[in-house]
């Protein structure tokens, strides 16, 4: 059994859902894609550009983000920002995430404490 492969698959699944939450959270101020990649990487959240760009486009088609091409700078960039609907979704999802992650943490710590005894 390759444990690393299983862990990698599991982490990928865990990251998939939380990425949306993080992208919505960061885009409360307008940002272009590569800027967001760097921003997340600076917070130790690795994300590849080829995942993030299509994700933002999907969120835009769901009405959670809006985008605009900014052509006044030296090179044209597409800036994304959260919409009103996106804010509502972000608020609700963040609350649920906090409760869920606290409960998960509590359970995992209990298990660790039991193992230590």
């Amino acid at each position: 059994m390759n444990h690393d492969d299983i862990v990698s698959g599991l982490m990928q699944e865990l990251r998939r859902g939380t990425l949306i939450l993080l992208v919505l959270n960061r885009l409360q101020k307008p940002m272009y894609g590569y800027n967001l990649v760097k921003e997340l990487q600076n917070h130790s959240i690795p994300i590849e550009a080829n995942t993030l760009y299509p994700l933002m486009r999907r969120l835009e088609s769901q009405g959670l983000l809006k985008s605009e091409w900014e052509t006044s700078e030296s090179k044209p960039r597409k800036y994304y920002q959260i919409t009103e609907d996106g804010l509502i979704v972000l608020k609700k999802a963040t609350e649920q995430w906090k409760t869920f992650s606290q409960n998960v943490d509590k359970l995992l710590s209990e298990e660790e404490n039991n193992n230590d005894k």
């Binding site: 760009y53 999907r58 597409k78």
Partner: protein
């Protein structure tokens, strides 16, 4: 920056995307690549190697296409239809193989033992030779057709979101069937096999319905082969209606309103197309039969002179019996 490799990469990644997003995605990819190159090389002009590293890091054009394509998470037949599709496909392939084998056996029996002396070595050789040739010729194509039919049907179900699962609402969960309610799997499977045998015999070798004139040892086909071939769509429709009725029985697995209504509707439609089909006066090989009996000076047997009517009567009677049987059995268990 403009570079041939970058442009070819972007073109490969976006050429199959919807036209309305293609230009936008292309521009977006250009800015990502530019940003990545700037990060890698700073103010220095990127070399061909830098470009290759960045493009490799970004993924293959196919991977990018998969990410950008809004339909990429969809497939021909996905969950929750796939498991039912596999189940139905298995049954249909079994039915198709057995149906076609049955048709091949009937047809080979007639060619093996029909024109030659009964139970001779020669008749056995002809029988097995014909059987193998027919199985080899027809089974693969019938299996491909059956596979295509079921696959297309389920692909439509999947893409049109046709509801085939009632277990989402707990109140809709069907009660555990009592013994008398259950429809054995054998019944619909045999029904489907017979529908396929009917289809195959009529479409491939309608001449096997023939009678022998003992004096001259000649076989005269009962049906006009050309007319049978030209009305193939009616025969196919008849077969498909029969298969639909049996498939619903197979999926439901119990006598309920759905099975009853499907049976009534498919039987009624089958009756209508039977009447339309047999209302033509050229289905029967009338000229040949009349010619033969006139030439030989014998009287046309009554069964042949009214054969078309008789044939229609038999089919309508069978459909009526089946409909009554389904209604009675369903009403009995619903009490």
């Amino acid at each position: 920056m403009t570079n041939d490799l970058i442009e070819r990469y972007i073109y490969a990644a976006t050429k199959r995307l919807l036209e309305k997003i293609r230009a936008d995605v292309s521009e977006e990819l250009r800015t990502i690549i530019d940003d990545m190159l700037t990060e890698r090389c700073g103010n220095v002009t990127p070399s061909e190697k830098d470009i290759r590293v960045v493009l490799t890091e970004l993924g293959t054009p196919q991977e990018l296409y998969e990410q950008y394509n809004p339909d990429s998470d969809k497939c021909l037949i996905g969950s929750p239809y796939y498991s039912t599709y596999k189940y139905v496909l298995k049954i249909v392939l079994i039915c198709a193989s057995s149906g076609i084998a049955l048709a091949a056996v009937i047809s080979s029996l007639l060619s093996g033992f029909g024109n030659t002396d009964f139970l001779t070595v020669n008749s056995f050789i002809i029988f097995f030779r014909d059987l193998f040739v027919k199985l080899f010729e027809t089974v693969p194509s019938v299996l491909v057709w059956a596979f295509a039919f079921v696959t297309i049907l389920f692909a439509i179900f999947y893409h049109k979101n046709v509801k085939i699962d009632n277990t989402g609402n707990l109140d809709n969960l069907p009660p555990v069937p009592v013994k008398k309610e259950k429809i054995s799997k054998v019944e619909p499977i045999v029904g489907i096999a017979f529908s396929i045998a009917f289809l195959s015999v009529f479409l491939i070798c309608p001449q096997i319905f023939s009678f022998i004139v003992t004096e001259t040892n000649t076989w005269i086909p009962i049906f006009d082969i050309d007319t049978i071939h030209s009305t193939w769509y009616i025969i196919v429709l008849f077969g498909v209606l029969g298969m639909t009725r049996e498939t619903v029985k197979l999926i439901e697995g119990r006598r309920n309103k759905k099975v009853m209504i499907t049976s009534i509707v498919t039987n009624a439609l089958s009756a209508v197309i039977t009447v339309i089909w047999l209302a033509r006066d050229n289905i029967l090989n009338r000229d040949c039969i009349t010619g033969y009996f006139t030439e030989s000076g014998s009287v046309i047997p009554a069964v042949l002179s009214n054969f078309q009517l008789l044939f229609m009567g038999v089919i309508l009677f069978a459909l009526a019996i089946d409909t009554i049987d389904v209604i009675v059995k369903t009403l009995k268990v619903s009490k």
